[in-house]
Symmetry: D2
């Protein structure tokens, strides 16, 4: 059993806040992007992927964000509709902003990079006036993404949402999701990450992301120190990801857990974190214990990195259950 | 005795952080500015005035800020030197920023207004990298000014200073000092004021300033509600000013106090709040009780508003003591 | 024979100046973009297309521009190399700018639209310091594109290039190429178009583009008035395009010519103007008369609009000659 | 007789276009500004000073510009009214812009400097839509100031005014008035100065200002080359100022003239150029020859630099005539 208590009797299980973008994934893989000729279009953006993952797992999911008034924006909204994600709080920009883009380049499973279009994007124009207290109090959990803190007015929208979430006992998940290109300086990053993190219940990030957030403060960069620091604030659970080495988590009651990754045939590494987060959150909402939630997250991640897209590849419970069963079966037979 | 405990054995009593500007006060008063011909130059800016007031009262005072590399900036630095205010942490801008200006117009004692020059000013360019943890841990008290939160990178510099102050048990005073012209929206103002206020020990502001800070949250705008809300965070003392009607203060132990203003011949209203704050902080540092501190603040304010400048007019303890004595004498004789 | 005299003994026939972008053309046509799933990538941008068209026609071609330091930029440079277009004067941005993008949507042959990414693009960062007088004096003709006038510093780079072109008797072609989304106001557009047009020898644009350029000045919007106005400045030839109705041209010696379009199976209308311009310029450089040049331009346009891309579809002389021959043959047989 | 022909039957002799600012001149002179305590306020800005000078000389004068909606703006408008300068085309900014300021520091007659406030100033927000063709066609002469070219939208407003002036045979004076702090680069400066200068009849500037304008083009920087270059365009008269060494002028008919400065007791050097320009323009409008106009300009300059202000000190014809008479008398007696 997790140490979290979700409020009951609320229509939404999870509301995600932050960017809704377009991924353009090169159809020709294992080569540099200048040698590719065509791209397939998917909905993307870390909180978007998590929302889609959550919806696939049958959570009642909503989204707070802003999309451009253009064909890409309409594609995103249509995709949310198809996946039963409530988009009543996804605003449509009226100022000529564009949809954020990520062109992905897969040189090899280990060497993936991204060309980002993040200038004048609609998602960062979400305004604090557009955050509905009434909507936030209808959910058990809220997920915020660090990227939404990168610029005004989206930054203030996040703090407004956090304010309402705390006021109404909504459990807040913070997916650190640190993307250097949208931030002006490391100092600025650390300051706003810290101000937000002080108000969150669960934090999920890589070791490098925690280091960035804590660089004004902590000295040894150990997972133990990270956990101790944040438990002095609001945090209940801290999940720190170490890539191939798996992840570790700490709970406020002093326990910690390790999880390994599942072996799989990797096509690309994008989307692993989002798949992990959606399955981890799903598990905690089921009342499962943290260790089980970590395993469920790892399995979901293993599935997504073997496929071409991030959002489209998000698995169902059936797929995750089946994947875990097969993986265990295989492991036993290898022994 | 106040409910505050100041750390002992520190070289500075008070360090102020924020803007250092120039006031240009019309020499011809009781007329609109278009009818004036000449101006006298003074150091200005709310935290600058408070630092000067504190230095006049013999507090060991330091300043964290940024000045332009121009004659106005040199004038300010020279003035700090003359008043024994440490300016080792007053940086000199190297990017061509200008010194903030306030032209004051005194149409009548009740009708004073200001023409501000706040574009591309040096004080708002103070950067979080320029905040020295080592300096902050050398002071008993830190005063921050709300105006320094208005824009980046100064905004982040304030949060960095707050972070270090909390870490080293420095008592933090927050002079709300809300100036609409430097802010983009009410929502943005409320968000950053709140994030800062949650980390402060003493808050001083007008009822209107508290209303602005709390407008996302509170509903009835009463002083009691304000006090209750902030005592749920870090606050120890809340001082709410009501203009001619005097001020009220609340302490974390559940007490509250009222203070009236001293009658005086008013020349202009500028500077009253800064005079009040410096004398109030001085009193608490002496270990005096809140009620006495409020009276000392009111007396200092009454002295400043009867004179032409803000900074130059800041009184000494001798002047305040004498003023209070005379005022009481006069009151008795009127009875 | 045209009224233009090209300087002889110069290594380049034509140097184009302006944007080098990426076109992303939907693979699924005749539907709105939100219903498409994949895109094919081409080099795009009006002056890029004209340079590619010119190179296909065996002109010695160079380019002055700026590309992003990213995979899209490398793709563009590689494409120029493959087409023997000199890119020694194509600078590589070092400030983090992106490559301009055009997503094309082909709802029907008559209903085509574009989603543009033009924020912080490399091509508009070409700086006047990067214009080489020595390079410009090596060409017979220079083509400038109106879009390059939309923003600083590219705007100043165009005026610098015009200055050098005039100084060294380079014949200047002005492709009006007016794109509203990059301009702040109609007045600004008209002012800079006029200042540039006063220094050009040949102008090519639609009737609507000439109207925009002349709206501060002319009243009746007739082709005759347009021609008269510009012949009072530097202009030698004015070509005004009327879509389906063909084009008309005026020469400084008082003549004018009409040209109809060739019937073809239209896939999309993009690229027609660029194909026209490259073949028209080619013809004049051969010393052909204006009427023949217009026919050659129209044939080239008809070929490009029947194909999926703009740049890749630019025809060779063999293709144009063959197309004209077949079109005339067909016409005769219909009679 | 000058080589200029002014249109007759027009209600205005001279309309000036450009900045209207406030000068704050230190009352304490011969010391650095950080040692000064008070300032006197005057209307300032080069075209403002020229307009005031022209009005003092009884020319019918108008102004095209923009002022802030603040007490400084109202002071300026009131001053124009008092001097019978038409301000029907002086717009009032509604966007919160400020009035430009110049604090002058007079360390010695030879060492004067300025602290400028030029961020977000009203005068640079004059928009091309606010230029009235009908107003411009009512004047014999238009004076434009180079500073107005420094930024958009004022830059486009100048080109619009030039367009209308040429269309209606208004004689255009170009006071180069180059102020480095408002320009982004030397290349940008040269480009827009050249584009404007090509459309002007009379140019007045220092040798350094002509060098800046011509640095893309000319090589030897001689006055002869300057004159030759501009006579190939629209220019009729070129006046090049060499400080203490006096000035030289060239006329399109191949003549040139030298003028020395009048000895005077110099208080500060500010305003000399504006005084020169207003008296020079006045003289040409009287039909006087260029040599006489230069002498009249020099006398006016000598008067202004002996006084504390620029605008307030502009002389009347009586003062100039008397000054010249006395100067000649003195010279004769010295011989």
């Amino acid at each position: 059993m997790s140490s979290l208590t979700f409020p009951s009797d609320r229509p939404y299980d999870l509301i995600c806040l932050g960017r809704l973008c377009i991924d353009l994934n090169a159809n020709e893989i294992n080569r540099p992007m200048e040698k590719t000729q065509s791209f397939t279009k998917y909905v993307g953006g870390s909180p978007a992927n998590i929302a889609i993952g959550a919806a696939r797992l049958q959570l009642k999911t909503g989204f707070i964000g802003k999309i451009a008034d253009d064909p890409h924006g309409r594609f995103i909204r249509q995709y949310l509709t198809q996946h039963q994600i409530d988009h009543s709080q996804v605003r449509i920009d009226q100022t000529g902003a564009v949809t954020g883009l990520s062109f992905t380049e897969i040189k090899s499973p280990e060497d993936c990079s991204i060309v980002m279009y993040r200038d004048h994007v609609a998602d960062l124009l979400l305004h604090s006036d557009e955050i509905s207290e009434d909507y936030i109090k209808q959910t058990k959990a809220l997920l915020i993404s660090g990227t939404a803190l990168a610029q005004s007015p989206s930054r203030e929208a996040v703090f407004t949402a956090l304010h309402y979430a705390r006021k109404h006992q909504v459990v807040v998940f913070f997916d650190l999701d640190y993307r250097p290109y949208t931030w002006r300086s490391d100092a600025e990053t650390a300051i706003y990450y810290q101000l937000a993190a002080e108000k969150c219940d669960v934090m999920i990030g890589t070791r490098e992301e925690f280091d960035m957030m804590e660089h004004l403060e902590l000295t040894d960069g150990s997972n133990e120190e990270t956990a101790k620091y944040w438990f002095a604030h609001q945090a209940q659970i801290i999940v720190i990801k170490h890539g191939q080495a798996g992840s570790v988590s700490y709970t406020r009651d002093g326990k910690h857990f390790s999880s390994t990754i599942f072996p799989t045939k990797v096509l690309k590494t994008f989307g692993a974190g989002d798949a992990y987060a959606s399955a981890f959150i799903y598990s905690l909402l089921q009342g499962w214990d943290v260790e089980t939630a970590m395993e469920y997250g790892s399995a979901s991640a293993a599935i997504v990195i073997s496929k071409h897209s991030c959002s489209d590849a998000m698995p169902t419970t059936f797929e995750i259950d089946h994947f875990i069963k097969m993986a265990k079966h295989e492991k036993e037979h290898q022994l």
